[in-house]
């Protein structure tokens, strides 16, 4: 489901219910935001956000029976949900059981096995660099002013497999506006937690820890760019980058950094982990591009998990309409 197209059906309309657990979070956040706005009259933007959220129709009540029990009861509410190109969602177990998160091991099933050691509460996010109000936020305060949204996005891994995932999160653009980057800010750099106690994969120097990713400011401000807090209507499992991760659906998955502790606004292009690790293979931009192969394998096709035949990879992962303008005039072979 592509968003920000006025005529489109919003994902929230497709989704049968707002899932109970997340709704509670949502209400909690709204209450906090309202309290904050009441205490600090100058926080006008937060106030607006709160009003906007409260103006939304209340989500339909979910019968108690649908919220109890294992993941199945919640999955059911997503059954049959399809994104724009008639692509079914990747099952919850695959989304949460097969991914790369080298902080917990380099196997695809390692994150699900090992990420239980990550402590996601309390969690702080440092906002720093070229920004009017640098500060360290408790995660709840960080999220409070923003309305969570559901977005169904394709995810295309640089390894040529892909998924379709229903995220819940907040628009990064709203967050950036709130922190008021200075005129010097041209890039946003994100950093993952570094703590080998919690992230056993960091005991080996597979990458130069902590993991760092970045976006050009205009990429970060694009309406597609999401800071996700949930998947399938529930809180992000640790292995998917809890409690806060980036989702940039038109770029290869490694750009969508997980378990973020720092957001820094900078003037120079950040040195991102994979681009540092293997600069000839991974660039800063890492836009999904079927015409520019990885030096070691083709990017022309991909395997959508659950499908037998490879399917053609789409330019910008199918989001050209929303993002191709960002790269007008750029040589995408050079800026891979």
């Amino acid at each position: 489901m592509l968003i920000r197209r006025p005529d489109d059906i919003r994902p929230s309309e497709v989704t049968p219910y707002r899932v109970y657990m997340n709704r509670r979070h949502f209400i909690g956040r709204s209450a906090k935001a309202a309290a904050a706005a009441a205490l600090v009259p100058g926080l006008l933007s937060a106030c607006d956000e709160t009003e906007r959220m409260e103006a939304r129709p209340a989500p339909p009540a979910v019968p108690e029976s649908a919220t109890k029990g294992g993941p199945n009861s919640q999955e059911r509410s997503w059954e049959g949900v399809r994104s724009e190109l008639d692509e079914p969602l990747t099952p919850y177990d695959d989304v949460t059981g097969y991914n790369n998160f080298y902080e917990f091991g380099t196997g695809k099933e390692d994150p699900a096995r090992n990420a239980h050691t990550l402590v996601t509460r309390p969690w702080t996010v440092e906002v720093t660099g070229e920004v009017a109000r640098p500060a360290v936020y408790d995660l709840d305060d960080f999220l409070a002013p923003h309305a969570p949204e559901d977005r169904i996005y394709r995810l295309r891994c640089v390894e040529a497999w892909s998924m379709v995932i229903p995220w819940t999160g907040i628009a990064l653009a709203d967050v950036i506006r709130r922190f008021e980057p200075t005129s010097k800010a041209r890039f946003v750099e994100f950093t993952t937690l570094k703590d080998p106690e919690q992230m056993p994969g960091q005991r080996r120097r597979v990458l130069d820890w902590p993991y760092v990713e970045g976006l050009r400011l205009d990429e970060a401000m694009n309406p597609l760019t999401l800071l996700a807090t949930g998947v399938y209507g529930r809180d992000l499992p640790n292995q998917n980058g809890a409690p806060l991760r980036l989702v940039v659906p038109w770029k290869y998955g490694f750009k969508s950094i997980k378990s973020i502790v720092k957001i820094r606004f900078v003037e120079e292009m950040p040195e991102t982990s994979w681009a540092v690790s293997a600069p000839s293979e991974y660039g800063f931009y890492a836009n999904v591009n079927p015409e520019v192969d990885h030096p070691r394998w083709s990017q022309a096709r991909e395997r959508r998990l659950g499908e037998f035949r490879r399917r053609p990879t789409l330019a910008f992962n199918g989001y050209s309409d929303q993002v191709a303008d960002l790269y007008a005039g750029m040589d995408l072979r050079r800026w891979y």
Partner: protein
């Protein structure tokens, strides 16, 4: 019919055990595939496991000669061909998985892969070498090729190296496992080149 002596019975039994051990991974893989037990990306899993077993068995095959010398068990040479053929068996499964399951006979992509992607070129070359060795592994071919047979079959070291490099070039950042394989293969090559036993004992023909 002469009653088999105990030594012969042991040899037969050990070969049966070896067959079972070598077929085990393939059966286990088949079982996993049939019961949806290969995770979210079964084709990738099959590719990885068949490749791993091919390289593992190839490395074991190379180890047979030094081990039987060091352990004073010259008779173990009789397992070498079996192990080598099983290495070829898994390498072939690996290649077929790529050809059929992964690429589904997308010949243009396959040709491009083999021609332009060094890790695939090297892997394909390794498989071709193993193919040549498997075909000429019969007693008939040993007789026909005479002294050339041994020269030809030294290719197994090149094939193993190529297989190890293929694995190393494939991984993204975690090079531990391919490096373990490559180290083992390099050590075995060094042992073979220096081969103290070849100076003492006359070579078998």
């Amino acid at each position: 019919m002469v009653r088999a002596n105990p030594a012969r019975r042991r040899r037969v039994a050990s070969k049966v055990v070896l067959w079972v051990l070598c077929l085990g991974p393939a059966l286990w893989l088949g079982f996993g595939a049939a019961t949806d037990g290969l995770g979210a990306n079964p084709i990738e899993e099959i590719t990885h496991r068949t490749g791993w077993w091919a390289l593992f068995l190839l490395t074991i095959t190379l180890a047979i000669t030094p081990v039987r010398r060091l352990a004073g068990r010259p008779g173990w040479v009789r397992y070498r061909r079996l192990l080598g053929l099983f290495a070829f068996f898994y390498a072939t499964l690996h290649f077929l998985t790529y050809l059929v399951l992964d690429q589904f006979f997308g010949w243009s992509y396959i040709v491009e892969d083999i021609a332009e992607r060094p890790f695939i070129t090297v892997g394909f070359a390794a498989w071709l070498m193993l193919l040549a060795l498997a075909v000429t592994s019969t007693t008939g071919w040993i007789r026909r090729l005479r002294k050339y047979w041994q020269r030809l079959h030294r290719l197994v070291y090149v094939a193993a190296l190529a297989g190890g490099v293929h694995f190393l070039w494939k991984v993204k950042a975690d090079t531990r496992e391919p490096l373990v394989f490559l180290s083992a293969i390099v050590v075995l090559i060094i042992v073979r080149v220096w081969a103290p036993w070849t100076r003492r004992a006359p070579r078998p023909q």
